[in-house]
Each structure stands twice: as structure tokens, then as C-alpha cells.
């Protein structure tokens, strides 16, 4: 186990690396204009990343399939239906989350 002092050094290293990674595109394009391709990537990166983050969030329940896959599927369906019906993000997110909490705490124990 790392000692307290070593843990502090490790936290400083990890924080510095994380900040560097987050700052990387801003450093690279500080004094030069992003190319056409970079602008194109920046335009579609959110759609790409959010799609992948959704799949990543579901990984725990589906790979390999666990009992949680059922409540998660039900809640995803509820979120889609709520969102298409009301188009209000808070309603969709909270409806889905509350349903999920209910299902895993009461139904699928």
C-alpha cells in the first residue's frame, strides 16, 4: 500500500496528467487555426462520444447479462417513451431513474 506521502505525490501526478489531457487540444490549437478535418471531428464528436458513453454505462448489466439487464431495459424504454411524449429532459431522466430505483429496490431484489 502507498504511504500517505506517496499517495499525495500520486494524486499530484494523476491530476497533472489529467489536466494535460483535458488541455491538449487547447494547447495544440492555441496559435493555429484548426484544420477543416479537426472542425469536422469537433462537430460530430459529441454524437460519437455520447453514443459510446451510453453503451459503456450499460456494459455492467449486459456483459455478461445479469438480472439488472431487465430493469435497465424497461427503464430505457420508459425514458424513450417519456422523452418522445413530453420532450422534457428532467421528466425523462427522473422518471427513468425513479422507476429504476423502485425496480431494483422492490421488484428485482
Amino acid at each position: 500500500m502507498l504511504s500517505n506521502n506517496d499517495a499525495i505525490i500520486a494524486i499530484i501526478i494523476m491530476s497533472a496528467v489529467t489536466f494535460f489531457v483535458r488541455a491538449f487540444p487547447f494547447i495544440v490549437f492555441k496559435n493555429k487555426k484548426p484544420s477543416d478535418t479537426v472542425i469536422y471531428i469537433g462537430k460530430y464528436a459529441p454524437a460519437v462520444i455520447i453514443t459510446i458513453l451510453v453503451l459503456y454505462c450499460l456494459k455492467g448489466a449486459f456483459l455478461p447479462p445479469t438480472i439488472l439487464a431487465i430493469p435497465q431495459l424497461l427503464c430505457l424504454a420508459a425514458i424513450v417513451i417519456l422523452h418522445l411524449k413530453f420532450r422534457n429532459s428532467l421528466v425523462s431522466i427522473f422518471g427513468g431513474t425513479l422507476l429504476y430505483m423502485f425496480l431494483i429496490q422492490v421488484v428485482f431484489i
Partner: protein, 242 residues
């Protein structure tokens, strides 16, 4: 994401902007606080002080990396290995700034902090076009950054201080993050983004998540999907026009 909250003209613009930013970040709050509690209970049960645990959430502020570092600390991993793993696990953040040049340039002195605190969830909020018409856009975005950061540190502090005596059953509350990303994805699908982009991303995501070890699946999936998006640029652009 539209938040359909009533506008109250009597509220001063600053307070009003803060309120709207708070509403936009509520799902992140519901995800970060229980996750922060879980992280700090893990960190403390492996022998570290509440102070160090809170410090880590304040300075490192990288959820998945913090969970991994509990294991790394426990086995006494060498600094170089910790540095390389941090780089690999957080490498996806290298792409986040590409969509935010204009937004962050407007932040002036706050720009370094905005970059520093750019997590997956904050990035997702920034890129979902949720800024209401009647608020100060720069302040709204800054409040989002600071609120998300606050939730993470706050959750960690709750876990560190009263963790073991908590009796509320928060099981499933962190599904709020999955729900939030799902809603953002729906909004992206309903927008003008070509379907081909989602197809490429979903396939890349599935392949990498199924085949690769946990620590590398995200960065590999994002790299593969962005590369394919560039390779199929003509088709994507044709898809937009349809």
C-alpha cells in the same frame, strides 16, 4: 435538452442564470453524489484518511480514474505506472476540447478552470445545446462546471464523514447518469446529426466494449469511431443533405 422552467422576470439575471444552471445539472448531482460516497467509502476502507480522500476528489476530479487508483494505491503501484494508466484511461478527454474552442475562448480567466474540470458529464452538458435563451451564456456554462465539481467533492465528503452511518437506500440512484446520457443521445438523434454517425459509433462501441479490457475500451471505441467518421466523411456529409 430543454428545461421548460418558467421564467421569472423579477429574479435578477445572475440568480436566474444560476437557477437554470442548477436545474440542468440536477441529473449529474444524482449521479455524482452517490458515486462520490461509494468512492470515499472504498478509499477509507483501504486505510486512507478522509482528508486525503476529499483532496483527491477536489484535485483529481476524474471518477473512473479515482476508483482505479484505489486498487493501484493498495498494491503500491510505481508512479510511472500510475502516470501511464492515467494517460490511457483519460485519453478520451483529448477529443473533448475539439468541440469547445469557441465556448471556452469566451470564458477569459475562467478558461483554465473550465478545461481542468471537463469531465464526461460536464462535456455532455456543454455539447447538448441546453443554454436557455434568457441567461448569460458564459456564466451559465461556468456554473455548470463548478456545480458538477461541487457535487463530486460533496458526495466524497458525505461518504468520508458519515459514510458508514448512512441509512438512505441510494441503490440505483446513479442510473441518473445513464438516463442523462440516454436523453442526450435521443436529442442528438432527433437533431440533424446524420444516422451514419450513430451507426459507426454504436458498432465501434460494441466491438471495443465486447473485445477489449475495461481500461482501454472507451478510448479505443472513441478513436475507432472518430477515425471511421473521418474515413466515411463523404458518406456522412451526403447523409446530412438527405
Amino acid at each position: 435538452m430543454d428545461l421548460n422552467t418558467e421564467t421569472n422576470p423579477t429574479l435578477p439575471i445572475k440568480k436566474h442564470t444560476f437557477k437554470k444552471a442548477f436545474l440542468a445539472t440536477v441529473p449529474v448531482m444524482f449521479g455524482y453524489i452517490p458515486t462520490g460516497i461509494a468512492f470515499s467509502m472504498l478509499m477509507i476502507s483501504s486505510g486512507y484518511s478522509p482528508f486525503l480522500t476529499i483532496l483527491m476528489s477536489l484535485f483529481l476530479y476524474a471518477g473512473s480514474m479515482q476508483f482505479i487508483s484505489v486498487e493501484l494505491f493498495a498494491v503500491g503501484a510505481p508512479f510511472i505506472q500510475i502516470a501511464i494508466l492515467t494517460l490511457l484511461i483519460n485519453a478520451r478527454h483529448m477529443f473533448y476540447g475539439l468541440s469547445l474552442f469557441k465556448m471556452f475562448d469566451k470564458q477569459g480567466k475562467k478558461k483554465p478552470y473550465m478545461i481542468y474540470s471537463l469531465t464526461d458529464e460536464t462535456y455532455a452538458l456543454f455539447t447538448s445545446g441546453i443554454v436557455p435563451d434568457d441567461v448569460d451564456e458564459n456564466k451559465f456554462n461556468f456554473y455548470i462546471s463548478i456545480l458538477d465539481h461541487f457535487y463530486w467533492v460533496f458526495g466524497t465528503a458525505i461518504g468520508a464523514i458519515i459514510g458508514s452511518s448512512l441509512t438512505i437506500n441510494t441503490a440505483g440512484m446513479d442510473f441518473a447518469l445513464t438516463a442523462m446520457f440516454t436523453v442526450m443521445l435521443l436529442e442528438q438523434i432527433l437533431s440533424k446529426t446524420p444516422n451514419l454517425v450513430f451507426l459507426i459509433s454504436a458498432l465501434s462501441g460494441l466491438i471495443c466494449i465486447i473485445l477489449l479490457p475495461k481500461n482501454y475500451m472507451l478510448i479505443s471505441a472513441i478513436l475507432l469511431a472518430l477515425t471511421l467518421t473521418v474515413v466515411f466523411r463523404k458518406a456522412v456529409q451526403k447523409n446530412v443533405e438527405q
